[in-house]
């Protein structure tokens, strides 16, 4: 299991491939991988987004990401997990978050992946500030 916070851009597919390649013990042992990638769109709530700043609460963020992953592991049969979350300044089309789950079967891979992204969204302390044509604004929870 790996959890990373990054203050620079990342290629989610390269990260998944690299992580999987580093886990030779997984080879042949999993039947299902589910990956979710959240990406910054260039529009939101009717406005063009030029840039976004992601603020977080260092240490608390990692703690909650780990907790959510351990919860997923206790609820479903999960062979391995990788979570990467950006912070800092992002441009449209930049990946924001990656959640990858390796499992024996697709039911648990989908369920665990969905659980992690949903819980992350409400419990891991991150805040988005968008820069739009009408100035900066904090994104509000929907």
């Amino acid at each position: 299991m790996r959890i990373r916070l990054l203050d620079r851009g990342f290629d989610p597919w390269r990260e998944v491939a690299a992580y999987q390649a580093e886990q030779p013990q997984l080879a042949g042992k999993f039947g299902a991988t589910t990956v979710f990638v959240g990406t910054l769109r260039d529009f939101n709530q009717g406005e063009t987004v030029q840039r976004m700043t992601l603020e977080h609460y260092p240490d608390m963020t990692e703690k909650y990401l780990e907790r959510v992953c351990h919860e997923a592991q206790s609820r479903w049969q999960v062979a391995d997990m990788l979570v990467i979350h950006r912070h800092g300044v992002l441009a449209p089309n930049d990946p924001i978050v990656l959640v990858a789950v390796w499992s024996g079967h697709r039911d648990s891979a989908f369920a665990a992946c969905r659980y992690i992204i949903d819980e992350l969204k409400t419990r891991a302390p991150f805040w988005k500030k968008e820069e739009t044509e009408s100035g900066p604004r904090w994104v509000e929870q929907q």
């Binding site: 924001i96 805040w127 929870q141």
Partner: protein, 78 residues
């Protein structure tokens, strides 16, 4: 000892500060901490963490604690 108080995102901007230290004396809950550091009522939906654990505003605060106030979380994806 004292209590470390941290603010994030829109609350940090509104208060114009990210972190302050206050005396623990006379402070018994997270709610008391807010009243000590801010002159305005706590914004609705504000979240509170003590020692980096989500808690309620009524949660007891002790000397040495780190208390954080922040708006609802908006990480992750759409």
């Amino acid at each position: 000892m004292s209590i470390t108080v941290r603010f994030f995102a829109s609350i940090r901007e509104k208060l114009g500060k990210g972190e302050v230290l206050i005396e623990a004396k006379g402070v018994s809950s997270a709610s008391d901490v807010w009243d000590r550091v801010a002159s305005t009522p706590i914004p609705p939906n504000t979240l509170v963490a003590i020692n980096q654990e989500h808690v309620s505003l009524a949660q007891a605060v002790r000397d040495g604690d780190e208390v954080a106030f922040f708006p609802p979380i908006t990480g992750g994806a759409t």
